[in-house]
C-alpha cells in the first residue's frame, strides 16, 4: 500500500483560437485547455487526469483541484474497486466544498479530474488499459463503485447488477472483436463554423474516404448559411450517409424546432445541444416536434441526476457522455448504467484536448460489459492536439484503435506540460511578444 505524497496541478493552455479550430455558435474563440493533475505516490507511481476547459478560468479550475488535495496527500493510493469507490465518495461528499455545486460546475469537474487520475494510477498498477481494467471487475465490484444516491427511483443497485450480469455473456468475444476491429468513429473536423465552403466540402469528402461512418456540422449561427452548408455536405456524401448537426445550445425551443424543420429536407441524423443543457422539458418538446431527427446532448450535462431527468422524460435519443464534465469514471459508470436501463445509445462527446483519449475507454467498456452493443453507437473524433499525449488515441479507417497501454491515456508529454504552461510557458511568452 503506497501513500499519495503529492498532488501537482498545472494550468496548460493551447492557443487554438488563433486557427478557428473548434469555433461554433456559442464558443467562437476557444483556447483548448487542461487543468491537469498528477497524483504522485511514495513508490514513484503516478496517475494523470485533467479537467477540460476552453481558456479563461482554467486557473479557477486548477484552484478547485488544489482544494481537494487535503483529501489525497497522505492517503493510500487506491487500487481496488472498494478503494476507488471510497475515494469518489470522499471527494464528492466534502461537506463544505459541496455547497459550491452541489455536484456541478468547477468543483465537480475538479472531482472528475482527480478521480480519473486515481483510475489512471490504478489501471497502470494493474498493467491494463482502463477499459480492460474495468471490464475485468465483477458486476458486484462495478455496483460498489457507483453512487446510487438520487437514482434509486429509476435504477436500484439490484437492477444495475442485473444489467451487468447480462453483460457478462459474450464478453470475451467482444473483447476479441474490439482488439481486432476497433470502435466506430465519426468526425466533426469538416464542420466548424469558421471554415469556408471549400474547406467544408473538401474535408467532408476526405471524411467519407477515410472511412468515418458519420460527419457532424456546427449550426446555429445563420440559418441561410446552415442550409447552404448542409446542402453542400449532403451533395458530397449522397442520400444515405448520416450527417449530424450541433447547435451548441444556441436556441430557444421554438427556434430549435423551426431551424430543424428548415434543415429537415437534408435529413440531419441528430441535432446536438439544441438548447440549454438544463432544459430537460425543452429537449423533450423539441424531440417530439422534430421526429425522426434524433435529439442528442451530454457534454454540458453536469451529473447523473440530470441524465436521469433527460432519460426519464424521454427527452434524448442519444446520450453524449463526457469524460471530464462529471465526477469521473465512477459517475460515468452510473451514467452508462442509466443509459442501458433506458435503452438509449451512448455516443461520447470528444474533441477538445484529450477527450478522445479518455472517452474511448468508457465507450469500449460499455460495449464489452454493459450495453454489449455497437448499434447506433459511435465516438466523436476530432484530429487536434493528439500529438501532446504519450498514448494518443488513434483512428484508422474510421475506427478508434483499441488502446493497449496501461492506464487512462491521459498523460501529456513533458515538453507539452512545459511549453504550454500558462501564462509562463515558452509557447505563451513567445505569443505575447
Amino acid at each position: 500500500m503506497s501513500l499519495i505524497t503529492a498532488v501537482d496541478v498545472l494550468d496548460v493552455r493551447f492557443p487554438t483560437s488563433l486557427e478557428l479550430d473548434g469555433s461554433d455558435a456559442m464558443n467562437p474563440d476557444p483556447d483548448y485547455s487542461a487543468a491537469y493533475v498528477v497524483l504522485r505516490t511514495e513508490d514513484g507511481a503516478v496517475g494523470q487526469g485533467f479537467a477540460f476547459t476552453i481558456g479563461r478560468g482554467n486557473d479557477v479550475q486548477a484552484a478547485a483541484i488544489q482544494a481537494l488535495s487535503p483529501h489525497l496527500v497522505g492517503s493510500p493510493a487506491p487500487t481496488t474497486a472498494a478503494e476507488l469507490g471510497a475515494l469518489s465518495r470522499r471527494l464528492i461528499g466534502d461537506s463544505q466544498l459541496r455547497w459550491l455545486g452541489p455536484e456541478k460546475g468547477v468543483v465537480h469537474m475538479a472531482v472528475g479530474a482527480v478521480v480519473n487520475a486515481a483510475w489512471d494510477l490504478a489501471a497502470r498498477a494493474a498493467g491494463l488499459p482502463l477499459w480492460r481494467f474495468l471490464a475485468e471487475l465483477t458486476p458486484e465490484e462495478i455496483v460498489s463503485l457507483v453512487d446510487f444516491r438520487y437514482l434509486t427511483d429509476v435504477l436500484t443497485p439490484d437492477q444495475a447488477l442485473e444489467i451487468l450480469r447480462a453483460g457478462q455473456a459474450g464478453k470475451a468475444e467482444r473483447i476479441e472483436k474490439l482488439l481486432a476491429e476497433g470502435y466506430p468513429a465519426y468526425t466533426t473536423s469538416p464542420g466548424w463554423l469558421g471554415y469556408s465552403d471549400e474547406k467544408l466540402t473538401r474535408l467532408t469528402r476526405e471524411a467519407v474516404q477515410d472511412g468515418f461512418g458519420m460527419i457532424k456540422l456546427k449550426v446555429g449561427g445563420n440559418l441561410d448559411d446552415d442550409v447552404r452548408r448542409m446542402k453542400l455536405a449532403r451533395e458530397v456524401v449522397g442520400p444515405d450517409y448520416p450527417i449530424a448537426v450541433d447547435a451548441n445550445q444556441r436556441w430557444d425551443v421554438a427556434d430549435a424546432v423551426a431551424w430543424m424543420q428548415a434543415l429537415a429536407p437534408y435529413r440531419p441524423y441528430w441535432i446536438e445541444e439544441p438548447t440549454s443543457p438544463d432544459d430537460v422539458l425543452g429537449h423533450r418538446a423539441i424531440a417530439e416536434a422534430i421526429r425522426p431527427i434524433k435529439v442528442a446532448t451530454g457534454e454540458h450535462v453536469h451529473n447523473r441526476v440530470m441524465f436521469k431527468q433527460l432519460l426519464s422524460a424521454g427527452a434524448i435519443d442519444v446520450l453524449q457522455l463526457d469524460a471530464a464534465r462529471v465526477g469521473g469514471v465512477n459517475e460515468n459508470l452510473a451514467i452508462l448504467l442509466l443509459a442501458a436501463k433506458f435503452g438509449v445509445p451512448v455516443c461520447p462527446h470528444a474533441g477538445g484536448v484529450g477527450l478522445c483519449e479518455l472517452v474511448q475507454h468508457l465507450a469500449m467498456f460499455d460495449y464489452v460489459a454493459v450495453s454489449g452493443s455497437l448499434d447506433g453507437r459511435v465516438i466523436e473524433w476530432v484530429d487536434h492536439l493528439h500529438e501532446h499525449f504519450t498514448d494518443p488515441a488513434i483512428v484508422r479507417d474510421g475506427r478508434y484503435r483499441t488502446p493497449t497501454t496501461p492506464g487512462f491515456s491521459a498523460e501529456m508529454k513533458p515538453a507539452t506540460l512545459h511549453g504550454f504552461r500558462y501564462p509562463d510557458g515558452p509557447e505563451w511568452t513567445e505569443l505575447s511578444r
Copy 2:
C-alpha cells in the same frame, strides 16, 4: 460617467462550525463565508457584493470573481437599467468562462456577486435602497434587464411586460404599507440538528412569542429523532401554527415520501429540499405523493432555466429564491417573473451570512411591483452574523423592517473584513494557536 478602477476580492470566513449553528443533515460543519467583492470607481463610489459559501472553496470562489475583473476595470460603472442589463449579459456571455458552467456553480455565483455589487453601486448613486430603486424602474426597463434566452417557451418579454404592468396598480399603497408594517418573516433558529430538545422547545416558544408566523426544523438525520422533535415543536405551538421542515437534499424519492408520511400526523407545512435540487421529476413525484404538504426548493437551484423546469413540471409549491446562488439581481428578476407567471409564491432562502440582508430587497420588490401579494409569502430569518454589516437586516415582531439606507445592504464593516479575513485575519490566527 465614472469608470470602475478596481475590483477588490476578499476571502472572509466565520468559524461558525465551532457552535453547530447552521448544522443540518447534509452540512454538519459549515463555516459561513463570503467571497466578497468591492467595485471601486474613479469618483470614489463603491459597490459591494458577495458569494456565500460554507468554508472550504471560498478561495476558489474568490478566484472566480477575480477572473471577471477584465470585464470591469476601465469600464463605466453602470447606473441605468440598460447599462446594468448590458453588464450582466457581458459577464454571463464570456465565451471562455461559460464553459465552466454554463450558468451554474462557482463561475455563475461569481457573476452573481459582481452583478449584485453593481446594483449596490447603482442604487447608492440613485440614493435609494435597492428594493425601491427597482420599484421605480418602468416595466419596460425591468424587461430590458432580463435575459429571456431559454425562457421564451414559457415566458416571453411581452408576457413579462403584462405581469409588470398589472403590478403597477396599487404600487404606491403597497410601498406605504411596507414602510409602515414591514414584511413577514419566519425563523429557522430553533431547528438546527445540533440543538438539544430543551433548546429546540425553548427557541420554538420564543419564536412564537416574538411574533414569527412560522418556524422551520431541520430533518433527515434520524427518523425517530425527527418525529420526536416535530411532536415537541407541535406541542409548543398548538395545532394551527405552521411548521416547515427542511431535509437539505438528504433523501431519494422513496425516502422522502416515507419520511414525510411519518411526519404527516404533526402537519408539516412544507418540506424543503427533499432531494437533489437537480431532480425536477423527483420533486414532482414527491409533491404528488405527499399533498397537502407543500414542496419547496431553491437555495441550490442554479439558474432560471432550472426554475423553469420546476415550475413547468408542477414540481414545487413554494419557490425559494436565493440572492447569491444565481447570476444576481437580473436573473432573480427573471425568476420572480417566472414565479408570477405560474402563480407560485416566492419565499426566499436566507440565513448564512448576509443572505437576509440581500433577499429582503428582492421579496419587497416582488410585493411592490410583481406579485403584488403577501399571501403565502414569508422571508426566512436566522439571527446570526448581522452585526458584521453596516446596514443589517432588522426583524421586529416577526417582520423584516423595510430598509431605507441606499444600496443593497451588502456592506460588511471594516473591522469584520480585517478580522475574519482567511487565513490571516486575527480571528483566524487566534484560533489556530
